[in-house]
């Protein structure tokens, strides 16, 4: 069984993100993973050793491998996501090391949104902290396929099974409340490397895999190729007189990434929002032609009929195409410095389409202390809330619960272009009845 799993993940890419409260040891764990997979080269290690020595440390501070900014090294904290790369004989990994400070939660949202697995660190001495809850909430909302809880600094609690059991039970209870049912816990010492790359003799009571063994074997359970076919059109490729080869003068193709599913030559598809149907007659990837394409390949589709399709439209399987809509409810992670208030107008980007939107109502915000939804007048930086939006034109959104790609969107401030929210269509918040706070004269906000 284990062999089968490794065979099926061989040669693939796994994206992971770290999470957890400040000082729980995220950067040290990342440094340890890089070091123990021989991903740290001699000049990088020499630089870390030199800086560590200058600071009077007796051993190399592996956190310095990822804390690359001047301010990070000065303050000994992580400010922004650092991306690192490592590979084993079986798999390649892209790792987003995310900061733990509350003001940098938006970076945890950034790291988690593309992650296949979040490694949540918890200090064995401290258990669940506010940021642990916040990060678990973000992980649950963003539907990261796998959550691994690394109960860190196990060396500082004398490798105690009782302490580990208590912390694990505490984390799992919070995780279950937030809807994460299959978190896997591992006792580790990032500093010493126990159970990071290899299983430790100092935790004989633990019989599970090391962190690296687990990461090598995790199945990509959330494979978008298993969903229905969708392709947001990024560009219409029509070379005309500019064709580099005369035979392509009349070429007309619709370029985009297969967001989900599989498309084959001969498939009947529908263009959204127009609803016009046609058939796929060709699939190109550069100059290669393919019989089929699947998520997440970037391809160009040729269609049987010259129907009106432009950038921003979605080409979908004709059999179960989503219904374009102007009214959506969604959960937002608010990432803007200026709070969100009902009535506000913003831009919404979904796939390759950007439309105007108005916030019709703020229907509640998540209280992270007792994990229930409470009425709220505004969403501030790092708040998580439920909203009702009205869109200026119909967009074929899907439920985030069934499609991470089809259900996700950005909210953008039209004035300065900033991304102010991560949105998830149809998502719900953990518990408590939402109490809407609609602005007066609701109709005024229709667009």
């Amino acid at each position: 069984m284990a062999t089968n799993t490794l065979t099926s993940t061989r040669g693939t890419l796994l994206r992971l993100a770290t999470a957890g409260s400040v000082d729980d040891g995220k950067s040290t764990l990342v440094g340890r993973l890089l070091h123990d997979t021989k991903s740290v080269l001699s000049d990088q290690l020499a630089a870390v050793e030199r800086v560590s020595r200058d600071r009077g440390l007796t051993a190399a501070d592996l956190a310095l491998l990822t804390d690359g900014l001047r301010a990070e090294r000065e303050q000994g904290i992580t400010i922004d996501v650092a991306y690192r790369y490592f590979a084993t004989a079986n798999r390649s990994f892209v790792l987003a090391d995310c900061p733990g400070h509350v003001q940098y939660t938006r970076n945890t949202v950034t790291g988690s949104s593309t992650a296949d697995v979040v490694v949540l660190l918890v200090d064995a001495r401290k258990g669940v902290l506010e940021q642990t809850r916040r990060h678990l909430a973000v992980t649950a909302l963003l539907r990261v396929p796998h959550v691994v809880v690394a109960v860190n600094k196990i060396d500082l609690v004398d490798f105690s099974e009782a302490v580990y059991d208590r912390v694990e039970a505490e984390v799992q209870a919070v995780a279950r409340e937030l809807g994460v049912v299959d978190a896997i816990a591992i006792p580790v010492s990032a500093l010493d490397g126990d159970n990071v790359a290899v299983r430790s003799a100092r935790t004989p009571w633990y019989s599970g895999p090391s962190l690296l063994e687990l990461l090598e074997a995790l199945p990509p359970s959330d494979d978008p190729a298993n969903e229905s076919f969708r392709l947001p059109v990024q560009l219409v490729i029509r070379p005309q007189g500019a064709a580099r080869d005369e035979q392509h003068r009349d070429y007309r193709g619709y370029a985009g990434q297969v967001a989900s599913g599989v498309v084959r030559v001969g498939d009947e598809v529908v263009a959204l929002p127009s609803g016009r149907r046609t058939t796929v007659v060709g699939i190109d990837l550069g100059e290669r032609t393919l019989d089929e394409a699947f998520a997440p390949q970037s391809v160009t589709l040729r269609l049987a009929d010259e129907i009106d399709i432009s950038r921003g439209d979605v080409i979908a399987a004709a059999v179960d195409a989503p219904e374009p809509t102007q009214d959506i409810t969604a959960v937002l992670c608010w990432l803007g410095d200026v709070p969100l208030r009902p009535g506000q107008r913003l831009l919404l980007k979904h796939g390759s389409r950007t439309v105007q939107t108005a916030v019709r109502s703020l229907d509640g915000a998540l209280d992270l202390d007792d994990l229930h939804t409470a009425p709220s007048e505004a969403l501030s930086l790092n708040d998580i809330g439920l909203v009702t939006l009205r869109l200026a034109s119909p967009v074929p959104v899907e439920n985030y619960a069934t499609s991470r790609r089809g259900g996700s969107f950005l909210l953008i401030d039209a004035h300065d272009g900033r991304t102010v929210a991560a949105g998830m269509v149809g998502a719900t918040l953990p518990t408590g009845a939402p109490a809407p706070t609609r602005p007066e004269g609701d109709e005024a906000w229709e667009i």
């Binding site: 890419l13 080269l41 001047r70 080869d245 599989v262 790609r405 272009g417 991304t419 991560a422």
Partner: protein
């Protein structure tokens, strides 16, 4: 049921000399459609390039003739095929570039029918807008001509071949990264970059830098060059060259890199892992003459490419971060 990964190569590739057959499927089973590591990186880069072409008014692509920008250009030809790349390429010429790299740059531009914009550091030195540095390196001098070219041509987005594995400040960079009206990068206040939804919107005067190959490592670049059979400038492959040793690097003997009296010259079999300013780019001793040999060499290397070959990054612990904040690539 079996699925065929059919591969046909109807016409000559613009960049690749032959159409080698990349394997799209990691496994041949129709129930197990999973992209290989390299195919996933390719798909992501093409997504980014197309999305920026759709969102931006006047993008340009930084093309130095170096391997990373060549790979980026190859990905751009795939993104728009069979149409040509719909934007110009921009080269900041330090005046100290390797002549064979400039020749390669011009050949490639001709072959692909691209429009080339050159911003010349030498011009700035000649008319006094920039002054030569005491250490002779011109890499940090590239920032002003780059920003002026962006302003003069009203480029609102610039594609760069920067990779996050190159350097620790680059590891912090977004794929789509905002620059203010002075071209500055503010690493503490970067936009969240969510799912694969990229947002390059900005105020007038600002622009974005776009790094489609952010997630590629040096060995990924070489595996891809090998797989796609992308031609490169000859100095990436082992050749005999007259060199001398300085700060643990082999520098070529040339007009801008003269040995001092105490530095011995010798002729060695070397190749370049990075290609930049001749005065500060070192060669490595290597017998690797083919892409496949280089893949093996790079995978086994115990030094980073910049650590092994770039004097400009040794100036301080935060040399790259400081240059990037000012508007460097």
């Amino acid at each position: 049921m079996t699925t065929t990964t059919n591969v046909t190569t109807p016409t000559a590739s613009p960049l690749a000399s032959t159409g080698s057959a990349p394997s799209s499927l990691a496994a041949g089973d129709s129930d197990d459609r999973r992209l290989s590591h390299l195919d996933a990186l390719e798909a992501e880069a093409i997504l980014v390039i197309r999305e920026m072409a759709g969102e931006l008014e006047r993008p340009a692509l930084l093309f130095s003739g170096g391997k990373d920008s060549v790979v980026m250009l190859h990905l751009a030809t795939k993104a728009f095929w069979p149409a040509p790349i719909p934007f110009p390429v921009l080269h900041v010429d330090t005046g100290h570039n390797f002549p064979e790299v400039l020749a390669y740059r011009d050949e490639t531009v001709d072959r692909l029918g691209l429009r080339l914009v050159v911003a010349s550091v030498q011009d700035y030195i000649d008319d006094g807008r920039l002054r030569e540095r005491a250490d002779g390196t011109r890499n940090p001098l590239q920032t002003m001509p780059l920003l002026d070219a962006i302003n003069d041509h009203r480029f609102d987005g610039v594609f760069g071949g920067g990779r996050r594995d190159e350097e620790k400040a680059r590891a912090k960079e977004r794929i789509v990264s905002l620059r203010d009206e002075f071209g500055q990068w503010d690493p503490k206040n970067q936009r969240p970059e969510l799912w694969n939804l990229f947002n390059p919107r900005h105020r007038p005067g600002e622009h974005v830098r776009v790094f489609p190959i952010s997630n590629w490592t040096e060995v990924d670049i070489w595996r891809y060059i090998d797989r796609e059979d992308i031609p490169l400038a000859p100095l990436y492959y082992a050749h005999e060259r007259e060199v001398f040793q300085r700060d643990g690097m082999w520098l070529a003997v040339g007009p801008v890199s003269r040995p001092r009296d105490d530095e011995q010259t010798s002729t060695r079999l070397v190749r370049y892992r990075t290609v930049g300013d001749m005065s500060c780019t070192g060669a490595v001793e290597s017998p690797a003459r083919t892409n496949a040999e280089i893949v093996v060499e790079v995978a086994a290397s115990t030094m980073t490419e910049r650590g092994a070959t770039r004097a400009d990054d040794r100036i301080s612990e935060a040399a790259m971060e400081d240059r990037k904040k000012e508007g460097y690539f």
